[in-house]
Amino acid sequence: MSRYTVQRVGFTLLALAALLVVIPILWVVAIVVVRGAGAINWEFLTTMPRNGMREGGILPAIVGTLLLTLGTALVAIPMGVGGAIYLAEYARDTWLTRAIRLAIINLAGIPSVVYGLFGLGLFVLFLHFGTSVLAGSLTLAIMTLPIIISTSEEALRSVPMEFRTVNASLGGTRWQAIRNIVLPQALPGIVTGVILGLLRAAGETAPILFTVAAFYLPRLPRSPFDPTMALPYHLYVISTQVPGMPEKIQYGTALVLLILVLSMNVVATTIRSYFRRRREW
């Protein structure tokens, strides 16, 4: 074979490999849309479930997931971004910071159900938060932290050292460099990491299983100490636990979750590409 043929064959194989990634995604989305689109209407999105969830809407699950994501954001963003700033900008390379980094990497690898059990033990039982939005948000926040910290730290480190040096040479403090130069430059990366982390939190079932999710609770939570339904768990319930469940409602629920998560993803991608275009170093 001539080297040009080798190249052509190679490229074709690589293109096929890339294509193979796309197919399952399109397939999943297509199935969910085709089977679930019919279920989606105003009533489905805005009313309580009825008749053992076989009829009516999924409002409490939607609201629950939005509240949990919001709660997760409130806890995980300040802690995660703050931790990343400390690690990237202030911490010296000591055994302690190495241990912290190692812990973060390992946290990212822990199965989500373990977070669920941890949340049950710490927040629900030990701290007496009960099965509640608060306990669920905190559990999801802990699960999300490693993602936010590692992506934010990466974003901060990618800002050229030179800017910090110039700031120092003008008599600026470290914090002034961070506040005025580094953070604005790292923001798109941080925002992307935050949204990707929250996205994962919004879609997880296991961590909320024992900490917040209600099997069937046709009302909205009134305080952080109330339990709530949530989309991923609701989907699990109606797919496996309720006999005689109309398929349309199952796929409709899946479609709502998918749209929620995908739209967050689109927002993240848009923010990133918007800022990338403006960045010139």
Partner: protein, 251 residues
């Protein structure tokens, strides 16, 4: 009195001696050039003058550097205030990825030097005029600093330094990334700036040192081999090593 008096300065990176027993007097409102081959310590020396080496771990300074008679390495010296008095221009033009205006206003803002918007506007204009950049950018001060040419960017960086009203400006090979025309503009600028500022420039370009400086110091392997009026260094060097270097036989 000299603006800066360096007395028996030695500098260590860990155990490695980078500067050995340097003594020199730097005159006020004159241009002092530091020449020598790569790794001879001239940049390290420059960074001792505004304590930029402080940020590098495991470094050590011996000896004294007096700025207007005050030791800048004495305990209790405010490094922030020192760096305001001794500004620095770097090798590569490095404006912040912000507007031209924000770049020049950066120093006054973080140091809280200005009184209100009008005052800041005035400082920005003065500084840009000071580096002969005002006429080129006055129509759009909001434009991204990185859209300027490299030569303009370097003049902007000098404007950013003079906006905090320093007394000394350190320049670390400020023209090495610039084309010959832009380089000449920076050199013209230096001749203007020396009326108000003490300038110390590290350069690899011996013609540049000969063209712009009043004093020249020749560094070799961490030692100051020879220091004197530029004309004398380039015409009648006392040391054989200096002569070999400036004539291209060594280095």
């Amino acid at each position: 009195m000299p603006k800066i008096q360096v007395e028996n300065l030695s500098f260590y990176y860990g155990d490695k001696l980078a500067l050995s027993d340097i003594s020199m007097d730097i005159e006020d409102r004159q241009i002092t050039a530091l020449i020598g081959p790569s790794g001879c310590g001239k940049s390290t020396f420059l960074r001792c003058l505004n304590r930029m080496n402080d940020t590098i771990p495991r470094t050590r300074v011996e000896g004294r550097i007096l700025l207007d008679g005050q030791d800048i390495y004495a305990p209790g010296v405010d490094v922030v205030a020192l760096r305001q008095r001794v500004g620095m221009v770097f090798q590569r033009p490095n404006p912040f990825p912000q507007s031209v205006y924000d770049n020049v206003a950066f120093g006054p803002r973080i140091l809280g030097l200005h009184k209100g918007k009008a005052d800041l506007d005035r400082v920005v204009e003065e500084s840009l005029r000071g580096v002969a950049l005002w006429d080129e950018v006055k129509d759009d001060l909001r434009q991204d600093a990185l859209s300027l040419s490299l030569g303009q960017q370097q003049r902007l960086c000098i404007a950013r330094v003079i906006a905090v009203k320093p007394e000394v400006i350190l320049m670390d090979e400020p023209c090495s990334a610039l084309d010959p025309i832009a380089t000449l503009r920076i050199e013209d600028l230096m001749r203007v700036l020396k009326e108000h500022y003490t300038i110390i420039i590290v350069t690899h370009n011996m013609q540049q040192a000969a063209r712009v400086s009043d004093w020249t110091g020749f560094f070799w392997l961490g030692k100051l081999v020879e220091f004197g009026p530029t004309e004398q260094i380039f015409t009648h060097p006392r040391e054989k090593l200096t002569e070999d270097y400036i004539t291209g036989r060594a280095g």
